[in-house]
């Protein structure tokens, strides 16, 4: 589970996102947010293969001591 301090600035990389096929073939599609949590109301964003604190969101300074959730889907 990714862990990040509430003091993390916008743009901070929270996790790396990677999709793999069950047959080990290369994943060449896209990863995006989906229901039910999407990117936590714009708090998080995807930047390449990184899950980051969105530079245009509200940040996480008010979220200390909580668990926030995003939901991802891979499509190829």
């Amino acid at each position: 589970m990714p862990v990040t301090p509430a003091s993390s600035p916008k743009g901070t990389v929270v996790a790396t996102v990677r999709a793999t096929w069950s047959d080990a073939s290369q994943f060449t599609g896209t990863i995006s947010f989906t229901a039910p949590n999407y990117g936590d109301s714009g708090t998080f964003a995807l930047s390449g293969s990184n899950l980051v604190i969105s530079s245009i969101g509200l940040g996480i300074s008010g979220d200390g001591g909580t668990i926030q959730r995003v939901t991802l889907v891979a499509e190829q």
Binding site: M1, P2, V3, A15, A35, D40, G64, G65, V73, A74
Partner: protein, 422 residues
């Protein structure tokens, strides 16, 4: 993911992200024309208006934070246990609905559904002693025959008898222990803080301007004390600053905005309310300027201050005194556009509008008539605050559309006045 022929979309995967450390919400600040948390996140006030919270016990277990913290009053519990019909049950419900602010009159009397002499429901008083004779006309003080008697209204209280004005600690005189009253007020603020809510604290509402005997609120307590000695007013100011703004005070409140006086420009002869009081602007301003000066001291927090009686869109604002050096959030005058928002805050003083918030209707009826919270029908909710968020990317995620099942009758006027609704 598993590959099944041409299957191309994976099942959704939810990723929990643990965010460590404490939330840095309060005290709120203004930066770049935007109301923000202490951590720099834009903050949209979404407030409910329990002005008359003194009508309720703090919790079933008592009327202090120490008695109430960690106890289990809930709205659902109140259905079968009337002892749980408390502020704690109320504020838990409001937090669960997504509110982040509550407006509480920390002095409260009958105009906002509290006891006529300013007492709490459990019979504690904010002051100990009445003024002696010779107050502002038409009032006559003391009420009940002596300065030690319990008055019938709040107009005659000597504001300097609130407690030790240098320490912000209550006193006991004439059998009245003001510390008990102020511990109750502490409880509102601390329980709110525990739930991540701030308190818009009105230290002295002056609704309707008139003497209380003529339907007013605390306007004449100002005038009566000023007639005797202006230092009585500033004594009260010092008390609240030393209690709630001095960082070393046990009652220090970071989750507080001063929401001063409410919406009556008592000093302006063209006020639509018609209860003109010459010179009231200067008397009121003495309180404001003293509070600002108190909070400017080292070791104090300078809380944000706002009032509907002074603001960019209020052409009835006082032009004699320099309120703009004290007021840090623009107030919006009652029923006046273009940025009227239903009675609370809009944008930051001196800047172009950036965002709006919508409080529930100022709730004279709060809890008194049970129109806002109905213990017998907890599904009855407050009106949906309308959220306007301009120039910023998205509403705060904590603010979600709320259930809206209340009768429109109590709130219809609010909606019809909303210029953005038309």
């Amino acid at each position: 993911m598993w590959r099944y022929g041409y299957a191309t979309v994976s099942p959704p995967v939810t990723v929990p992200i643990t965010i460590t450390g404490s939330s840095s919400l309060f005290p709120l600040m203004v930066s770049g024309g935007v109301l923000q948390t202490a951590g720099g996140t834009p903050y949209l006030i979404l407030g409910d208006a329990p002005q008359g919270a003194n009508n309720l016990p703090l919790c079933k277990a008592g009327n202090t934070y120490a008695a109430c913290t960690g106890t289990g009053d809930t709205l659902s519990g109140a259905q079968t246990d009337s002892g749980q019909r408390s502020f704690l049950a109320y504020i838990k419900d409001r937090q669960a609905q997504g509110f982040n602010s509550v407006w509480i009159n920390i002095l409260c009397e009958a105009y906002t559904a509290c006891g006529s002499n300013g007492s709490t429901q459990e019979g504690t008083y904010p002051f100990t002693t009445q003024l002696s004779a010779g107050v502002h006309s038409p009032d006559t003080c003391p009420e009940g025959g002596s300065t030690a008697a319990t008055p019938g209204s709040a107009n005659c209280w000597d504001m300097s008898t609130v407690g030790n004005t240098s320490t912000g600690v209550g006193i006991t005189v004439n059998g009245r222990n003001t510390e008990l009253y102020w511990q109750n007020i502490d409880g509102y603020i601390k329980l709110a803080n525990d739930l991540g809510l701030q308190v818009l604290a009105d230290p002295i509402p002056t609704d309707n301007c008139n003497s209380q005997s003529q339907g007013g609120s605390f306007g004449f307590i100002f005038l009566n004390n000023n007639t005797k000695n202006a230092a009585k007013i500033t004594g009260y100011t010092d008390f609240v600053a030393n209690r709630y703004s001095k960082i070393s005070s046990p009652s220090y409140a970071s989750n507080l905005i001063w929401f001063l006086f409410n919406d009556y420009t008592c000093w302006n002869p063209t006020s639509p309310f018609g209860n003109y009081i010459p010179g009231a602007d200067t008397v009121f301003y003495n309180f404001v300027s003293r509070l600002a000066a108190d909070e400017a001291q080292t070791g104090y927090t300078k809380h944000l201050m706002t009032t509907e009686t002074y603001g960019n869109s209020n052409w009835l604002s006082d032009t004699v005194n320099t309120w703009s050096t004290c007021i840090t959030l623009n107030g919006v005058y009652y029923n006046v556009g273009p940025d009227y928002d239903g009675g609370l805050l809009s944008h930051v003083q001196g800047t172009a509008p950036r965002y709006w918030s919508r409080a529930t209707m100022p709730a004279k009826t709060f809890l008194g008539s049970m129109q806002v919270i109905n213990w017998a029908a907890p599904g009855l909710r407050v009106a949906v605050p309308r959220i306007y968020w301009r120039g910023l990317p998205a509403p705060p995620k904590a603010i979600q559309p709320l259930a809206h099942s209340v009768s429109a009758s109590s709130f219809g006027n609010c909606y019809s006045r909303e210029p953005q609704d038309t």
